[in-house]
Homo-oligomer: 372 residues x 2
């Protein structure tokens, strides 16, 4: 059977379920830590597992350039290379081509670009993106799309979205169905409800194992992002997984789960972990702040990660001040653990039918210790 | 009872034994990973434990400057701060004052120096060094000595050594005896046998829980280092631990254990791990070398560390090329594990009375895969 999602419970629009993949079952809502170049930065695979994470994301753009998709395949695929036996979702490469690479040239067939690493020239088409993700052995393959810039006029957004829809059909044709593997389409259309609806219609007409919402978290703000979800999600089939790409803050996650999103990925907890920002049940802490220098208490007393269970805020602050690698290692670990705990708590609340109370309590907690 | 060492077996001059400390018993010969600023760089305390390491080293110079000895004491001591429940040895700070700090002024009473971090002025005396190490809660405290530069004339070495001996007496007076804690004297005298013998006589006249050989691994070469050990060690009491400071390569360790050294520390396995050098049973590998790019085999097939048990040489090479933190993390882990395995193997051989055969087999193995 192909990769699929089954519902376990709903609470309002919020959904709890299970994603069934070739590499195991994943309870949803799920947050996928980002393993850009075949590693969740600053964490061993064991550490990632210990947070409760069951699925991670890999970046096609980075992996195609280094170490190369064919090489990953020769090494037994991405799971084996990075010691991750659970499911993996790979993006299509389109977003990073736009955000990272040098000279680009788009045409109907695909995009030609220069590597940000060595300036070498590469070509990505819908067919090649699917082939690369197959070589990486991704459980969830994403369609190649054009990332519509923000802001965009309705005319620009329509042209861009329709190209992505034509590419989605080519991706569907190129994808080889296998048990437990699946292909997700990506809804585009910027902030325009009619375009989003048109995009959903195009994608559901083709048919995918799951549907992603793309083109958000690009500067439109949380309010507009939620508004797009409010108008878009009702058009999607209820029996397929819904994935909000590149999102977000803990507050974004709570609001998007409330609206019916099942899957998330974001570099925020890992990137913040490397720069000293801690996400906690009590708000955001800047661990470089001198106020922590003599604080013998943990980052978050309710967290069971090694940074909180075994170390003081003072020690974490010391590690960052001294430029010790263990600072980013421990704080990334903490942040990923916090994101996993948050998703588990939201899932439990949906199953218990207490989503609103739980979300309100979580959100109230964040006010206690605002960013320092 | 004070910290002490007991013998389990000898094989030629090589010794197997146990160091009894306030934080547990340590089989010797032992290699102590270096936790300079309260962290073995790029490793969690759990990872360090998993290598078999039972004792680590902390640097007084780094810790007194940042986060500060009094602060470490307020946080419950170095063990608690860094989550290391086993024994800790701290150096005296003298070596780093010479190698790292800015303007220095030595006098009979101590040394005044500038912090390499912020240029602030500090003073280290034998009494203050002992006080700092007490604040850090070191199981083994080291006497403050002057690191005799290499090369030094016999006259220079004598003047320097005799100052260190006067300081050793002051350290002994300043040290407060507690159950399971101990103070080690440091033999100086450069490469001059008579000075080394004079230094041993001075120290044994004072009496210490263990004796370190200082002033080696400073550029004199392995042959001369071994020659100094050959002439110095016979003067030392057989019932006290012997610690060769700042040494060394796997080859150095085998040769020094053969001559009767019990304890070692060195930044080599950790520093090399961060720069891509792997120590293995088959020699040294440069993991950045392109020849590993498609090698699906482990760094060392006989090693049980996560880098070897779960990952390929190709993946490690990829991580270093991509600048991913996981490269240094995994390779440091491997190198420390290799050093621990090496020491355990040497200890087993001493207990079995097969040191020479074992050492010969180990040394032959290193020829298979010389540095690339």
């Amino acid at each position: 059977m192909t990769l699929h999602w089954t519902s376990a419970a709903t609470d309002g629009a919020a959904r709890a379920g299970t994603l069934h993949t070739a590499h195991g079952e994943v309870p949803t809502p799920v947050f996928m830590p980002v393993g850009t170049a075949g590693t969740v930065k600053a964490m061993t695979a064991d550490a990632v597992r210990s947070t409760g994470a069951q699925m991670v994301l890999g970046n096609t753009y980075h992996l195609m350039l280094r170490p190369g998709a064919e090489r990953v395949a020769r090494l037994g695929g991405l799971h084996r290379m990075m010691d991750w036996s659970g499911p993996i979702l790979t993006d299509s490469g389109g977003f990073q081509v736009m955000s990272l690479s040098g000279l680009r040239k788009m045409d109907e067939q695909g995009v030609t670009f220069q590597s940000h690493i060595d300036g070498s020239k590469h070509r990505l088409t819908p067919e090649r993106s699917i082939e690369i993700q197959n070589l990486l052995d991704a459980d969830v393959t994403m369609c190649l799309d054009e990332c519509t810039p923000f802001p965009a006029t309705e005319e620009q957004a329509a042209v861009s979205m329709r190209l992505s829809m034509r590419w989605a059909a080519r991706c569907r044709d190129a994808f080889v169905a296998r048990d437990g593997y699946g292909l997700f389409g990506i809804v585009q259309g910027s902030v325009y409800p009619d375009l989003r609806a048109e995009s959903v219609a195009a994608l559901t007409g083709i048919g995918f194992e799951g549907y992603a919402i793309g083109g958000l978290a690009v500067g439109e703000g949380q309010e507009m992002m939620f508004a797009v979800l409010d108008t878009t999600l009702p058009h999607l089939p209820t029996d397929r997984a819904r994935y909000l790409m590149g999102v977000g803050t803990p507050s974004d996650l709570v609001g998007a789960v409330r609206r019916g999103i099942d899957m998330f990925d974001c570099v925020m907890p890992t990137r913040s972990g490397r720069t000293g920002r801690a996400y906690t049940r009590h708000g955001i802490l800047n661990m470089r702040n001198a106020r922590h220098a003599d604080d013998g208490g943990p980052i978050d007393p309710d967290c069971a990660c090694p940074a909180c269970a075994r170390h003081s805020r003072a020690y974490i602050q010391h590690l960052f001040k001294a430029g010790e690698m263990l600072g980013p290692m421990l704080l990334t670990w903490h942040n990923i653990r916090y994101y996993q705990d948050l998703m588990a708590e939201l899932r439990g609340a949906i199953l218990a039918g207490t989503f609103d109370e739980t979300a309100a309590r979580i959100e109230a907690g964040w006010q206690k210790d605002p960013a320092a």
